[in-house]
Subunit: 243 residues, 2 copies
């Protein structure tokens, strides 16, 4: 097996690519962030588009992010994160825990999709400006119903696990995912998060623990960690927030 | 390991539970469909709700469907399907193929979520009647942009694989998933599917091949295969369809 991972994602935003990127960074794995790499070195959006067009050996991703590792092509943020976590020592060892970690990762991916749809409830092919009334309505529902439901679920998992991690007794890729969720929700819905986040003390404690994990702390302080912005999944549109 | 699988899902509809159910049926695996089982035998919605409330050994599913197998609890339709496929001989053997199958399964889950959101674009907590204008707009976008994009992607995967299956050289759980997608889209959007489905001959051929697979054919002819209805993911609301 190679010791190199090529992660493909849009440059200029965290987006869904941030979930596998956090796994690579937390594991201090050697990787190339292909979308941000110079075209002269085989990177850039054109290199990514070429793989989306023709795939590699018949394996065609539907959308970024995707990972290329030797003859493997893995797409979908949750699947790339799980695969990397299992490859790089950031996944549980026991089979039952490993399966439940995947369950958590897919649920996190659902939350990400719902956070995205707060600003794109009609369709990804349209601009936010073309779906503002729908976005307002969906965001209200998301803030009132979905945020407490998802955050409450993570809190219940943490209540059931004395280690303070979501599954097993050490840091795994799903903890990194929850860290990113808290970061994203705080960015996109600061008023709502300020109003409710104290209800989820174990979630916040895990967030802080992940942020303090040395490789993660170094990554967050580096220029590789982009700021959130309004091209990503978590977007701060004040009209979509509210306590 | 036990030879028994307990699948938990809402009774009375296919929904997301149909994806793992098809894997169990295609493998002729012994399983209990817990939501449909008598309460006297430990089944019913109350048994499902109890696990959603307290979990099993600290593993709490966010939502149905979920599978209980010994000390394992696995949720998320795509993850349950992948796990069952790998356990029951309906997944690729080679690691690279196995990973790509999971990529396909998660993409299929995205399509399922988008099909659901055509009738619930504002929120799952609201009735369809409370979000009809938004549903009409989202459905138009789904029919015009998303259906061809997803179906075209499956078609390209099949074009690249001479076996006629999505990955590898034999039937796997992701082929069962695509079968269900075609069934669901034909039910929910009959006019749109009639207009475009001939553009995807390999998808249709695989659908027919899955339907003719003897254990699947027996299942489809049995009372265990419920009819589609307007409680499920794929709902036929004529006002949301169109060529």
């Amino acid at each position: 097996m190679t010791e190199r991972f090529d992660l493909y994602y849009w440059p200029g935003l965290q987006g869904r690519g941030e979930f596998p990127r956090l796994v690579l960074e937390a594991a201090e794995a050697p990787y190339r962030d292909m979308g941000r790499l110079d075209e002269a070195e085989g990177g850039g959006v054109s290199a990514m588009m070429a793989i989306l067009e023709t795939g590699i050996g018949g394996r065609i991703p539907f959308a970024p992010p995707f990972l290329v590792e030797d003859d493997r092509l893995v797409a979908q943020a949750a699947e790339v994160s799980a695969h990397l976590g299992e490859r790089l020592g950031l996944a549980p060892q026991a089979e039952a825990d490993r399966l439940f970690a995947r369950t958590i990762a897919l649920t996190t991916a659902d939350l990400v999709a719902e956070a995205h749809d707060t600003h794109h409830p009609v369709g990804t092919g349209l601009y936010y400006d073309d779906q503002k009334p729908e976005a307002r309505r969906r965001s209200e529902e998301f803030r009132r119903e979905r945020m407490p439901k998802f955050l409450g679920w993570y809190e219940r998992l943490l209540s059931a696990n004395p280690s303070g991690f979501l599954v097993g007794d050490r840091l795994t890729y799903v903890d990194l995912g929850l860290f990113q969720i808290v970061e994203g929700l705080r960015y996109a819905f600061p008023r709502r998060m300020a109003a409710i986040e104290a209800n989820y003390p174990r979630v916040l404690a895990l967030h802080d623990r992940v942020a303090a994990h040395p490789p993660v702390a170094r990554y967050l302080a580096s220029p590789r960690r982009l700021a959130f912005n309004e091209d990503g999944i978590f977007r701060h549109y004040p009209e979509l927030d509210g306590a």
